[in-house]
């Protein structure tokens, strides 16, 4: 990590920093990179990094060891990359400290074992969404697939994630080397605020937080609003279960958010910015704070940036992790130190926001798009995507999917392409049942609707929402009633509780769905779910409540038969709802190995060795551990 305390004032300074960054990105000595975003760390990247550092230090090798963000290949974490001059960058997956040491020792030879892919030449930009200022080492290696040919990356177009997993997030120079802060320089020195605003309008960018409000219109409203000072807020209160798009950007490319916000501030006439991050993202908070310090030292934040006379400062505010604080009015109250409860809109934050002043709130992903839009032009951006949804969208692809990944695809990519091509399909040769998009506010889209293009309007019509980008894939062992119950449980806790429909409505919805999942439901309950769902959607104050019934309503719409099976036949077709299933051991298939006896926490399985075992139903907690343990398929579920 090198930090120049020099102030960047003009384009020459920027070019100088770029050269420094290029030397860091592609040094003349071998370089080893370890992906240390939260996803990598959780998989053990810290041990790998430690082992690599130790190996390099012990052998006194002249190699550089750096950290990098998440390239999105989550199923293969921890990832290790080596860049040897004259050769393509090679990525290794599922690293362990021992293996990492072997790879380091093998340098300058490139070890083929455990290698996943290579990144030759200018593919470093991953599909060229980015002006490539940086010419990396060229070269090719037989027998290794290039990133651009991998199914996971082939269809991706990485604008927001342009630098994630490529640069060292702690290095300002590396960000600049990949074209960073050039957009800011152009905006401040070559364009008027109106021109920037028009460029954003022309791009057709819509808010990436989920609702899809046109960003340009929002900016115009803030610019036109009366009141000083104006504020710019980055909403990084990401809380959907299974979603980590914002975290990926904050941890992998913090400067892209700062640059976007500064350009936004310039366009709207704001001089102060706030990044609202949840406390649960300690690494993101740390990296953002460090990036702000670096930008301030380099004069990219603060007084008269690039000698343009425009001043801008950004601070980080940590949220306590309430889901509802992702709602903009609740978020503002949280920053003000009040209880995070939504307020009636209008007045909208654009007129009456933080401290009662005009405020622009955009999601992390929206901000990360801005620099590229300014650099490449709104027209270029608007060519990507569909008629009404422009650009790309980042998704976290999780659940029953082969390639768990953080991906970025052009709007309009179909669900089938995402699940089967990028995601690699469902593990264990199971059938895909549905995809849940948009988190607790979204809905489930069944597999027979997978030709649906992913954009704001198509997803809305299908009863779901784009949301911030969580995408949970579910196989045929998933019970949709159970899924609805899970999300309602989440929502009844996370509803702020201010308005009656949302607080009591989610509780009652959960009560009814729980009753159904326990086999105690009646057919009239489905009408009641429809009625109550309608009320909660129509009558709630904020976006959380208005979308809270979506998990129930969408599963009811597409999987009514499954609800009916629970009600009429008292049966759970997916064998998930504990009250409706029984575990038994087939006396013919059971060879009495005793593995299930060991794992059973309720001590419900009895039997002598080498003789068929029996499950005592009264003691069975129906956890399913025996089912997973049995190698002879002797445990049956009814």
């Amino acid at each position: 990590m090198i930090s120049t305390a020099q102030r960047l004032v003009n384009l020459e300074d920027l070019h100088h920093a770029m050269r420094q960054g290029r030397d860091l990105l592609y040094p003349s000595q071998p370089k080893i990179m370890v992906g240390t975003a939260t996803c990598g760390l959780a998989a053990g990247a810290e041990e790998v990094l430690h082992a690599v550092r130790e190996e390099v230090a012990n052998s006194q090798l002249p190699y550089q060891v750096t950290e990098t963000g998440c390239i999105g290949w989550c199923s293969q974490e921890p990832l290790l990359d080596i860049c040897i001059p004259g050769r393509p960058r090679v990525t290794y997956g599922r690293m362990k400290p021992g293996r990492a040491r072997e790879i380091v020792r093998a340098i300058p030879e490139v070890k083929r074992e455990w290698a996943l892919a290579m990144m030759p030449g200018d593919e470093n930009t991953l599909n060229g969404a980015h002006v490539n200022y940086c010419v990396p080492h060229n070269g090719h290696m037989d027998g290794l697939t290039a990133y651009k040919d991998l199914p996971l990356f082939k269809r991706q177009l990485r604008i927001v994630l342009r630098n994630c997993g490529i640069i060292n997030p702690d290095s300002l120079e590396e960000y600049i080397a990949r074209g960073g802060y050039h957009a800011l320089w152009h905006a401040l020195r070559k364009h008027t605020p109106e021109e920037i605003l028009n460029e954003v309008k022309r791009s057709g960018l819509r808010g990436r937080g989920g609702a899809g409000f046109p960003t340009g219109m929002k900016w115009q409203a803030v610019r036109d609003a009366q009141g000083e000072p104006k504020y710019v807020i980055c909403n990084a209160d990401e809380g959907d279960p299974g979603a980590y798009m914002d975290r990926g950007v904050l941890e992998g490319d913090p400067h892209s958010v700062l640059e976007g916000m500064t350009i936004g501030g310039y366009a709207m006439g704001a001089h102060q910015g706030v990044i609202y991050v949840r406390e649960e993202y300690p690494l993101a908070v740390m990296r953002m704070k460090q990036a702000i310090r670096q930008a301030e030292d380099a004069g990219l934040l603060g007084q008269s940036i690039f000698d343009s006379g425009f001043s801008f400062e950004i601070r980080v505010v940590k949220g306590a992790g309430a889901f509802v604080c992702g709602e903009e009015t609740a978020l503002i109250r949280s920053i003000e130190g009040k209880v995070g409860e939504p307020q009636q809109r209008p007045p909208y934050p654009a007129q009456h926001g933080l401290w009662g002043k005009p405020t622009c709130i955009n999601n992390v992903e929206s901000w990360a798009n801005i620099a590229v839009i300014v650099q490449r032009g709104g027209d270029w951006f608007s060519q990507i995507g569909t008629a009404k949804s422009k650009g790309t969208k980042v998704f976290s692809l999780v659940g029953n999917i082969e390639n768990t990944a953080l991906i970025e695809v052009p709007m309009g990519t179909t669900l089938a392409e995402i699940v089967y091509e990028i995601g690699g399909g469902i593990p264990n040769a199971r059938a895909c049942k549905a995809v849940q998009t948009g988190g607790p506010s979204g809905g489930c889209i069944p597999a027979d609707k997978f030709d649906l293009p992913v954009d704001y309007d198509s997803l809305n019509q299908a009863g779901s929402i784009m949301g911030s980008g969580g995408m949970i894939v579910m196989d045929d062992h998933t019970c949709m009633v159970d899924i609805a119950r899970y999300f309602l449980e989440f929502l009844e806790d996370e509803s702020c509780g201010k308005c009656f429909t949302c607080r009591v409505g989610t509780q009652r919805l959960k009560e009814i769905v729980t009753r159904i999942s326990q086999g105690e439901g009646e057919e009239e309950d489905l009408d009641l779910l429809q009625d109550l769902g309608w009320l909660v959607r129509e009558g709630s104050l904020c976006g959380l409540g208005q979308t809270a019934p979506n998990p129930v309503l969408s599963t009811l719409r597409y999987f009514r038969g499954e609800y009916m099976a629970h009600i009429r036949d008292r049966r759970c077709p997916a064998h998930r709802c504990r009250e409706l299933i029984t575990f038994e051991i087939d006396p013919v298939l059971c060879n009495g190995c005793g593995a299930c006896v060991q794992i059973c926490s309720g001590k419900a399985i009895l039997g002598e060795k080498k003789k068929p075992h029996i499950i005592t139903q009264a003691q069975c907690t129906k956890c399913g551990a025996c089912l997973e343990m049995c190698k002879f398929d002797a445990v049956l579920v009814h």
């Binding site: 509780g497 308005c499 009656f500 009591v504 009641l528 109550l532 709630s540």
Partner: protein, 259 residues
């Protein structure tokens, strides 16, 4: 002045006034539970929902906090509003069946069934843990009128409740009783023949109706609305003595989406 259309009527309203104020000024009834003049609007009870805009983009908003805008179209009693109100009151009855005010509103707006199970007996004493509707009137009157701020909301979602700081007696509390005064639901419902049933207006199904046979067992304050409905006004509103249990539900569409 701002010009708006309310229920098809062109009306004038003062700039900055809320839809609720305008509607009440022109005598369009809108029920509320969390609104009191003199306190900031809160928008928690959702009973004051009105429909604004034009189909297909019309939406329901809480009238108490929504300021009038030039040219806006408001409907205070559309089918959509009626349906929302009825479903809301059904939910309210299930939350706090003891309250006379809620029972009265339920009778008035035609709630004739309550499909939710209720914890405990409807006749059981009022329990703030389960029966509080969290309208926030007590919290606001304490802070805004009594300048004390001795109580507030604690917790979130299903565990949200009105509480004193740290659950201890507060020095800020002067025991003025304004919170009790403001509470819309701690007034007991009619204790007559149908006190065990969830809906007070269950007596509409009896003949003779309760107030004829239990004339001394009335509500202790004012006659309950159900009694009024079953009394001299019953012919006017067309409820028969042996009204089917869900007469009100059938009168207005309750299933299918109203757009």
């Amino acid at each position: 002045m701002v010009h708006i259309t309310m229920n098809g009527l062109a009306v004038e309203a003062e700039r900055g006034s809320s839809l609720l104020e305008v509607a009440r000024f022109y005598n369009f009834p809108i029920p509320t539970l969390c609104h009191e003049d003199g306190l900031n609007s809160y928008g928690a009870c959702r009973l004051c929902l009105v429909e604004i805009g034009e189909a297909p983009k019309s939406k329901l908003v809480a009238a108490c906090g929504y300021r009038v805008e030039e040219g806006m179209k408001v409907r205070t009693n559309s089918l959509r509003v009626q349906r929302a109100r009825r479903l809301l009151l059904e939910l309210y009855v299930a939350t706090c069946p003891q309250s006379k005010r809620i029972q009265d509103l339920a009778s008035e707006y035609g709630v004739r069934q309550c499909r939710y199970p209720v914890d405990g007996q409807p006749g059981a004493p009022w329990d703030p843990k389960t029966n509080c509707i969290q309208c926030g009137l007590c919290v606001r009157i304490c802070a805004e009128q009594m300048m004390a701020g001795a109580i507030g909301f604690a917790g979130r979602g299903k565990s949200r409740h009105v509480a004193r700081p740290f659950g201890m007696a507060s020095e800020q509390c002067r025991q003025c009783g304004a919170c009790l005064y403001a509470c819309p639901v701690c007034e007991l419902r009619c204790q007559a023949s149908t006190a065990e049933s969830l809906l007070c207006n269950g007596c509409l199904n009896f003949s003779p109706v309760c107030f004829q046979s239990y004339s001394d067992a009335m509500c202790f304050l004012e006659p309950c609305h159900a009694c009024e409905l079953s009394g001299p006004f019953r012919h006017e509103i067309g409820i028969k003595a042996h009204a089917p249990h869900d007469a009100g539900q059938k009168a207005a569409p309750s299933t299918g989406e109203l757009k």
